[in-house]
Symmetry: D2
Subunit: 354 residues, 4 copies
């Protein structure tokens, strides 16, 4: 039973392999009559594209999204919105090196075990290329809830951490630095660290922090589809993510109730936001604050021990240029998944009136 | 659109409010012909029950599960298994104190906002009492995959942390200490800390670590229903959970690829397990290692500032006896949710043969 | 993968075997704050009960529905509504006669083949007893859309047919005759025919006609969840149903377009209703008119050739008293399934407002 | 909440409007490693194409399906199969005539009411053009179950009916006659009747009969996803379908149990097949026999009374050439929907082995 669909009222299904002719998806459930800014979608996609800065790979993908249905005279029609993105850079390559090898911390072996074969062309479906479709869908989805703004940024790269509360950050500066960290000094340190990893033919992990503001009160469907549960699922499904926190997150485990409880004001807002904007599985109107941990990229230039498909020992070292840190490019993907979940729950929460 | 159902091939739907006459659920999708050990189910439930040790509340619930269908002559029939648990302790109480108050960090305000009313009787559906149904379902589910063993334990209470790798722990000792920490010395410190919180009319958070061994290779359905994504959803939906990590988790963000990559042995096992048993969204046969952060219990005896439904400021202090730390009781709930997800994905992964 | 759930926004899951201790279900998705008339639910259930007239069996079931959750102070809370009905008449019986026999046109053989065993106690889950849960759920569901009225009646029993258009029938007379045919003269003929079948130790089929009025315009979700598609699924899933028609139904195949097209009036109503209230998969506000064919009851007193589980030939004749015609008792079940589908689509159609 | 997806283990989602640039879909859940004959898919599609015979319209669509993913080296990969079909004939046309008119028995009015706008270009999503995607998906799906053969043919056109049991028909002759009726004499009469309707600027309905042989025993998931229920849903969702019968169908309502019951042979086959291959919601290995009623095409050349969007009375007569009878072209669509449902249930029924 497959798993290429997410959402219940706003339903995204994606397809496509890294080195097929195209990738794409169908977003079903967009209400009719909504004016859609297609430039906004392309801009989101451009932020994810490789080759944006000297920190990332040079895969030459134009990544222009094309829409095939569901839009008429600039508005949604209420029918499914299909879109596709060409894989321009899928020319036949020399996969001899990896065709018969299981790379460390890649999906090669488990895909072979599950599907009985392996699409060795650039990782096939397990490649992060599929996340481009998530970005398209998220940028469409968010347009149904004008009050909501979702912002993500890089808050850690390896040991370099940004500890400033989001209210004190200039979030409009996120895209001004190749690291997508909105704090110049920290960003510069991150850049240096990434360059150092690259020089060592190595890679680094990092953390993305995201904040959604303007979320209406009451989104989420207990007891299993609580808002934080669906956010966790959506975000943990992004390639390389190893951890998810909301609000006080892991630090809450060290706190006492009297310190952790968010005192309620007379207007029902809260003094603190340890909840991270979600209480009892429902949004409470405060900013939803999330942190996502990304492991370092598995593909590195350094030599590593590994095995062939036949179990024979071998050594592998990735050729060519590889991203030493994908976390800056993950920022729009994180935003998109949050946008999708919020829009889905917004529609799931539509009010009944007799 | 509601959210009281989880799973796609093995489907659990639960019902019931804290102070109704009973809670229960339907587990649909259990294959036919499986011998079920009902004692095992009751034992799992007993581990969650309040009043097991001097550390927990004394709510007098027998929590005996009754099965209504789907079992015949000791085996599953392939039809839905319905079960219920009586709420024996739901006698009318004095809710005057909280009926018109929104308690800090409780779901009172958001439930009122979403549903237009509030079941003030012990929290209604937002009470953790519903998790008893999860435990029943998990203990049934795990019986379809005999190879799998899921073990959870308390690895942190407030600032007291257990840093021993799971292979070095005596997991059979988990239930021998009221804290459910299998390391005697650490467990004793946790107990002391919990008692201290209680004495201060306060509460504490903590962390549960869980390990699933014997998981077949290939469970998980990319790209949205990756195994870690569904585990994250299942676990983040438990009351009070604020964070989820798998394998190297948040620490992976600080690591380099050369350090983090799990080198593959000639038998396709890995030298290290930073992946936490899941690569590319699929189980790789290594132990699945998860850590879950629980915030401190919101209900505390200390006086706190809060508001009435009409927005008027007031002060609240919980009466009677309350759990200063629910993390030990969360252990069987964590296990159950992991069991449910693994069993669901086991059935989703059944092999096609022409 | 199981199939005991129906609906997407209003979701019913049922459980229970004919001779277990109880049957029941969970109805999830009922909006909060709706006053529920529980007597109305019990009355619907009473109409399905055996032993109501001299035409039906005498199984002594009180069929009192009990609610366990989701209702508080007379209103829905927005949480799942669980209910159960005891099987009072499930005393141990002598199943020796059928335990090792596959009865003609019963599910005995296919259940054995699919599930690897057979619940021989009164048909287990394949018994029509499960339809009691459908009646409860339908009677709850319809209370969310006060404008809608669903009426069903018996329009044919064997060769005896009622050909009067529904507008000319006195639908308040449906329950006044044991056949549930609202046309006295035809009803009397049906009764005579049923008695004749009984006297011959035989059974008869029949047809139920149903009309839903007051349905808002626009219910239905093309292209796969068109309203008539979901109605067909819901009704074809009732035991013994062999055919489904809407509006002009099979007779439309003989008509020309100029005759069949429903001319639109200036108020957008139509002159005729060959559409049966649904155009392009969407309700158009006209009455939804459906006809359902029921095959004759398979259990008959007459001797029939059949086989044992081991393939040996044998002869079977049902002992005791059996319903010669279940169609009158099917009337509330048909109504319930229509109510469920309409309520589900009503909620699926809730309007988005930015 | 949208409805453009069908199936639970084998999941089809389609998109596309009649006069957009393309239509297409994603078929998710195809097992990996299956050799796919793409010619077989194109051939099925060719059978649905307009302009195949002098009986149908001349819309000049090449209808070449293109695959974008899920296939590698001639086999399925286990990832989603995306496909598209260009709308070559979607050049801008003069829609002035119908833009402001609600045509009788078309979806114009209800689409406007539901979606707040109307895609007047050839019916938009309500056009039967979307069924091309169903044909592609069905032709892919059936390739996973080699034992199954699904054959459909035209068994009635207006008053001309074919009453020969399917075993006596030469089903290889179906495509040899433009009517797709495999009985030469009846087929010729049908053709004459269709020509007569065309000459009168009118249209006619008809009936398609379908038989699926080689279906394994035990497909279907009671109590709501019985095999006949899902078949009914799939087929009632095809444009213009007004009725569905299985096995004895509506005629069963006139029969007695002793006549209708299918006596079981010593090899568990049945002497008769009134069941139509499904008992208790499960396939029993006998041929699945279905009859589907199609109403006459709504678009006719004859003048008809109707209304404008503003409620003003007007007269309409379709210009140009229109299909007087779509039933022959519906044959591959009926086959496809049956293939999809059987393949979905085949995968839902995969066997658990501990």
């Amino acid at each position: 039973m497959p798993g290429n669909t997410i959402g219940k009222s706003l339903i995204l299904t994606t397809y496509g392999e890294s080195h097929g002719t195209q990738i794409g998806g169908i977003l079903d459930g967009m209400p009719s009559g909504i004016e859609i800014d297609l430039d906004q979608v392309q801009q989101a996609l451009d932020r994810r594209r490789p080759g944006q800065s000297h920190l990332t790979t040079e895969r030459n993908e134009e990544d222009a999204v094309v829409f095939h249905s569901g839009l008429f005279e600039g508005k949604t029609t209420g029918t499914p919105i299909a879109f596709s993105i060409s894989n321009k850079d899928h020319r036949s390559k020399d996969y001899t090196q990896i065709k018969d090898i299981y790379r460390p911390s890649h999906a090669d072996y488990v895909y072979q075990a599950k599907y009985g074969h392996r699409d060795y062309r650039g990782g096939g479906r397990s490649s992060a290329r599929e996340t481009a479709c998530r970005v398209v869908a998220g940028a469409l989805a968010v347009q149904i809830i004008p009050s909501i703004e979702v912002k993500a940024w890089v808050s850690a790269v390896g040991p370099i951490k940004l500890a400033v509360p989001f209210e004190e950050l200039n979030l409009s500066a996120i895209d001004k630095h190749p690291t997508r960290c909105p704090h110049q000094e920290t960003a510069d340190q991150m850049e240096t660290y990434i360059e150092k990893c690259r020089a060592a033919s190595d890679s680094t992990g990092g953390i993305v922090t995201a904040v959604a503001t303007g979320v209406p009160v009451g989104l989420g469907e207990p007891v299993f589809d609580k808002l934080q549960a669906d956010l966790a699922k959506a975000l943990m499904g992004i390639n390389a993510v190893k951890g998810f926190e909301i609000g006080s997150g892991f630090s809450s485990s060290e706190m006492t109730g009297s310190l952790h409880n968010d005192i309620i004001n007379e207007d029902f807002s809260t003094v603190t936001n340890n909840a991270g904007g979600i209480v009892g599985g429902l949004s409470n109107g405060a900013p939803i604050e999330i942190r996502i941990a990304f492991k370092p990229v598995a593909t590195i230039g350094k030599e590593q021990q590994t095995v062939k498909k036949n179990g024979e020992s071998t050594v592998i070292a990735a050729k060519g240029r590889h991203d030493p840190c994908v976390v800056p490019r993950a920022v729009p993907i994180v935003e998109a998944m949050i946008q999708l979940v919020l829009a889905d729950h917004y529609l799931r929460n539509l009010k009944y009136n007799a």
